[in-house]
C-alpha cells in the first residue's frame, strides 16, 4: 500500500486503542453497554442484536500485562491467557471499557479466565459451552442442539445485561452486517494468493485485527473504501514477489504480538496465508441464512460450531485437511508453526501438521515456540533465517 493513502485500518495499535477506547467510552456515557469476548466462537451478532457493542479482546505481546495476569494464572500458563486478565489490571482502556465478557469454554486457560473475570475482576462473565468432539462427518446431532441451546442461554444473559430483547429481526440484521464484513475481508485475504498482489497478507492481517474493536458499520465502510482502492490497482503493473511463500498457523497471534511476524519479514520470508484464530478464520465462512424463514439462531450455531478450527476440539483430520487446502490454494513453500509457550493444544498437533505437510505437500514446517518476552528473539531469528535460506535453496 502507498503510505500517502494509508487507510485508518492500517493505523498502529496504540493509535487504534486510543481511538477505539475513546469511542467506547463515549458510547458508554450515552448508556450503551460494551461486551468483550476472547475466542472467535462467540458470535458477535448476538451481542449486536442485544443492542450492545462487541469488542474482541485479543491483545498480546506485552510483558507488563503478562506479569499482571500471573496474579491469577501461574507463570506456566500461556502468555495470551495471562494477558487476557493482565490487561484489565494494567488499565488497558479496551479491557477496562467492557461491561461484561463472554467466554467460550475452549482450552483450560480460557475456562480459568472466565472464572477469574467473574470472581476477581468483578465483571459479569458469561460462559459459552461448546462441544469438543463434534464432527460433521460423524454427524453428531446432539452437538448442534447443545450449542444452539447454549447460544440461546447466552442471548438471554445478554438481554439481561442490556435490557433489550434479541429478536429474530435484530439478529438477522446483525448477521447481514457481519457477513458483509466477512465478504470484504475475505476478498482482501485472497489477494496474496497471487504473486502480484496489491496488498500483502501482513497488512490484511492488521486490517482484520483492526476490526476487533472498531464500530462494525464504520469498519465495513472503511473496508469498502479500501477495497475499491485495491480493485483499481492494475495487478499486471505489480512486480511478482519472488520471496519464499509461507503460511503461518498455530496459536493465537494477538494484536501487538508482532515478534515472529517481524522476524520472518526481516529474514526475507513472505507470509501469504494463515490458519490462526485472529487472522482469516473469521472471514472464511458466512453465516448462511436461508431466505426469510431461516432461523437465525440455527444459522449462527451451524457457522460457529463447525467453522473455527481450534485444537481444543478432537477433529484433527479436519484441521489438517484445511491446512493442506490453504497451502495448495496459496502455493505455499513452507509452514511456520507458531506455538505460544504452554499452549498445550496447538503444541501437541505440531508433529501431525509437520508430517502431513511433508507427506501431502512435500513442504517443510518450522516450529517456533515463543513467549512475549524479547529474550528469545535471537534464537527465533536464527531458526527462521535458516529455514528461509533452506527454502530459497530448494
Amino acid at each position: 500500500m502507498n503510505d500517502d493513502n494509508r487507510s485508518i485500518l492500517l493505523a498502529g495499535l496504540p493509535e487504534r486503542v486510543e481511538r477505539d477506547s475513546a469511542r467506547i467510552a463515549q458510547a458508554r456515557k450515552e448508556g450503551r453497554k460494551v461486551v468483550g469476548y476472547f475466542c472467535p466462537h462467540v458470535p458477535e451478532e448476538l451481542i449486536m442484536a442485544a443492542g450492545m457493542i462487541p469488542v474482541r479482546l485479543a491483545q498480546g505481546g506485552d510483558m507488563e500485562a503478562v506479569s499482571a495476569g500471573e496474579d491469577y494464572l501461574k507463570a506456566d500458563s500461556c502468555p495470551y491467557a495471562r494477558s487476557c486478565l493482565g490487561f484489565r489490571k494494567t488499565g488497558n482502556p479496551i479491557y477496562t471499557g467492557v461491561d461484561a465478557v463472554c467466554v467460550a469454554y475452549t482450552c483450560d486457560s480460557m475456562r480459568k479466565n472466565q472464572e477469574y473475570w467473574a470472581e476477581y475482576l468483578g465483571v459479569p462473565s458469561f460462559p459459552l459451552g461448546i462441544t469438543q468432539t463434534h464432527d460433521r462427518l460423524r454427524s453428531k446431532a446432539q452437538s448442534l442442539e447443545y450449542f444452539k441451546n447454549e447460544l440461546n442461554l447466552l442471548a438471554s444473559r445478554l438481554e439481561g445485561l442490556s435490557g433489550q430483547r434479541v429478536t429474530g429481526g435484530k439478529l438477522k440484521r446483525a448477521i447481514e452486517l457481519a457477513n458483509r464484513i466477512r465478504d470484504r475481508l475475505w476478498q482482501m485475504f485472497e489477494y496474496p494468493a497471487d504473486r502480484q498482489t496489491p496488498i500483502e497478507w501482513r497488512d490484511v492481517f492488521r486490517i482484520a485485527q483492526a476490526g476487533f474493536t472498531m464500530d462494525r458499520q464504520e469498519y465495513l465502510d472503511e473496508l469498502i473504501l479500501l477495497g475499491e482502492r485495491l480493485e483499481k490497482i492494475n495487478k499486471e503493473s505489480l512486480v511478482p514477489d519472488k520471496r519464499p511463500r509461507l503460511m503461518i498457523c498455530g496459536s493465537v497471534i494477538a494484536q501487538g504480538d508482532d515478534k515472529v511476524l517481524d522476524i520472518v519479514e526481516q529474514a526475507g520470508g513472505n507470509i501469504v496465508a494463515d490458519s490462526v484464530c485472529t487472522g482469516s478464520m473469521f472471514s472464511r465462512k458466512r453465516v448462511t441464512l436461508f431466505g426469510l424463514v431461516g432461523n437465525p439462531m440455527d444459522a449462527l450455531a451451524e457457522r460457529y460450531l463447525y467453522n473455527i478450527p481450534c485444537p481444543f476440539m478432537t477433529d484433527l483430520p479436519k484441521r489438517l485437511s484445511r491446512i493442506v487446502k490453504i497451502a495448495r490454494d496459496y502455493n505455499i513453500d513452507g509452514i511456520i508453526y507458531y506455538s505460544l509457550k504452554y499452549c498445550d493444544t496447538w503444541r501437541a498437533e505440531f508433529k501431525a501438521v509437520r508430517d502431513t505437510a511433508q507427506k501431502q505437500l512435500s513442504i517443510p514446517t518450522l516450529l517456533i515456540e515463543a513467549e512475549y518476552s524479547p529474550a528469545d528473539i535471537g534464537t527465533i531469528k536464527t531458526k527462521v533465517e535458516a529455514f528461509i535460506e533452506m527454502m530459497e535453496g530448494r
Binding site: G129, Y342, R347, E349
Partner: protein, 407 residues
C-alpha cells in the same frame, strides 16, 4: 511379594508393614499383562476422572493408563526417560509428567499391557490428557474414541443432560464393538451397583481418617485412592481388597493400636488437594514432620455421592457424571468440596500442583482463597514433578509449614 515390591522406587517408600491386608492393594497396583489377560476381558483405557461403569457394563476391563503406567514406570521403576519418549511421540516437553510418562510408556509398550481400545472422556478439566490420546492414537494401532461431558451450569441442565445421554449411548455402541457385548439396561444397572460398592468403600476410608486416632498412613490412603479409578481387575475383586483393609483398620481402632507411622502425640491434620503427586515420598515426609494426612480430593469426583440405583440407569449415570465436582467451575467445585473437607476435620490444607499441569494449578489461587475464607485454616501451595526431581524444596516447605502450624 508383588511385582513392584522389588522396584527401586518402592524401596524408598516407608509403608505400614503391620497392615497386612495392604498387600492386596500392592498386588492390584502391580497388576501385570499376564494377570489382566487371565481375566479374558478386553482392556479399555480410560481417563483418570471418568467413571469406569460404561466399560464394565460392556463386559470390558477399564484401565486408567495415566495413573497405572506412571506409577509402575516412574514411581516404582524410576524409568524417567519415558518422559523423553513422550516428547518424541509428539507431546510438548512442557506437558505434565503424568501424560509424558503415560504416552512414553504406552508408545513403547513398556509395561506390556496393551489396551484393545481407549474411551477418553473430554470435559472441562484436562486438555493435556485429551491431546495425549490424540497423539497416542497415531502411535498405537488401537481405536481411540473421544466422548464428551458438557460443562456444569445449572442453567443448562436440560440440554446438557440430553447431550450427555446421547454421548453415552454412542459410547456404549462403540464399546460394544470393542468387547462384543451389548450394554443393556440390566448390565448398566449392575455396573452401577458394583461401582457404588467401591464408592462406599472409599467413603469408609475417609470415615476412618476422621478419627482422632491415626488409623491409616497417608501413603497407604493415597495408594488406595489411586487404584480406585478403574476398579481393576474388576469391582468385585477390588471391593474384596478394600473390605479386608477396612476391617483390619477398624479392628485396629477397636484394639487401640496406633500404626507405626505416627511419631508425635498430636499431629497436624492435613487435607491434600489439587493434582496427584508422583512424589509418593511426600506422603512420608508429611508424617515424618509431624503431620497426618486426613483426606484428599484427588479422586473425590469418583465417589462424591452414590449413583442412584432407582429409575433408568442411563439417566442416573448421566446426571451423576454431569455433577461430578471436577466438571464444575472452580468456585462451585470448591464450595461443593468443602463439606467433604470439613468432615475430615483438618487443621491445614496442602494444595499440590504438578509441574506442567494447567488445569488445577490454573485455579489454585481461587481454591486457596476460598478455603482460607470459608474454613479459616492455613493453606500451603507446593509444586511437584517427577518422583525424585527437586524434592528438597518441597520437603523444606512442608516441614516449615507443619512446624509453624503445630503450635
Amino acid at each position: 511379594m508383588t511385582a513392584i515390591s522389588n522396584s527401586p522406587g518402592y524401596n524408598r517408600l516407608v509403608l505400614d508393614k503391620e497392615l497386612k491386608s495392604f498387600d492386596g492393594v500392592l498386588a492390584l497396583l502391580g497388576a501385570d499383562a499376564c494377570t489382566l489377560n487371565q481375566t479374558g476381558k478386553k482392556l479399555v483405557a480410560k481417563s483418570p476422572l471418568s467413571p469406569p461403569e460404561p466399560v464394565y457394563a460392556a463386559g470390558g476391563l477399564a484401565y486408567d493408563s495415566s495413573t497405572r503406567e506412571t506409577i509402575i514406570q516412574a514411581v516404582m521403576q524410576e524409568n524417567f526417560n519415558l518422559a523423553n519418549a513422550g516428547v518424541d511421540a509428539g507431546l510438548s516437553p512442557e506437558f505434565n509428567p503424568w501424560n509424558l510418562i503415560m504416552v512414553g510408556s504406552l508408545a513403547g509398550n513398556s509395561t506390556g499391557i496393551a489396551p484393545a481400545g481407549a474411551a477418553i472422556a473430554c470435559g472441562c478439566w484436562d486438555d493435556q490428557h485429551k491431546k495425549s490420546w490424540q497423539v497416542l492414537s497415531d502411535c498405537l494401532n488401537i481405536p481411540v474414541y473421544f466422548w464428551e461431558i458438557p460443562r456444569y451450569d445449572a442453567d443448562s441442565e436440560i440440554w446438557a443432560l440430553r447431550f450427555l445421554k446421547a454421548e453415552l449411548e454412542q459410547l456404549f455402541k462403540w464399546l460394544e464393538c470393542q468387547t462384543g457385548q451389548k450394554v443393556t439396561r440390566e448390565s448398566l444397572a449392575e455396573a452401577i451397583r458394583q461401582g457404588n460398592m467401591i464408592r462406599r468403600d472409599l467413603a469408609a476410608f475417609d470415615e476412618l481418617l476422621q478419627s482422632g486416632n491415626r488409623l491409616l498412613g497417608g501413603l497407604e490412603y493415597y495408594m488406595i485412592q489411586l487404584i480406585s479409578s478403574d476398579y481393576l481387575p474388576g469391582p468385585g475383586r477390588l471391593h474384596e481388597v478394600y473390605s479386608r483393609l477396612i476391617d483390619e483398620v477398624r479392628h485396629r481402632d477397636q484394639e487401640k493400636q496406633v500404626p507405626p507411622v505416627s511419631n508425635k502425640a498430636k499431629a497436624l491434620r492435613i487435607y491434600l488437594m489439587g493434582d496427584e503427586t508422583q512424589q509418593f515420598q511426600l506422603l512420608n515426609t508429611i508424617e515424618d514432620c509431624g503431620g497426618q494426612v486426613v483426606g484428599a480430593d484427588f479422586r473425590l469426583a469418583l465417589y462424591y455421592e452414590l449413583i442412584s440405583e432407582e429409575g433408568p440407569p442411563l439417566d442416573n449415570l448421566a446426571r451423576w457424571i454431569w455433577k461430578m465436582p471436577c466438571n464444575m467451575p472452580t468456585g462451585e467445585r470448591i464450595r461443593a468440596t468443602i463439606p467433604f473437607i470439613r468432615r475430615q476435620k483438618p487443621d491445614a490444607v496442602i494444595i499440590n500442583s504438578t509441574t506442567g499441569s494447567r488445569n488445577l494449578p490454573g485455579s489454585e489461587r481461587m481454591v486457596r482463597d476460598i478455603i482460607k475464607q470459608q474454613m479459616d485454616i492455613p493453606v500451603l501451595s507446593i509444586e511437584t514433578s517427577l518422583p525424585r526431581q527437586d524434592t528438597e524444596k518441597t520437603e523444606y516447605l512442608v516441614r516449615a509449614f507443619i512446624e509453624m502450624n503445630s503450635y
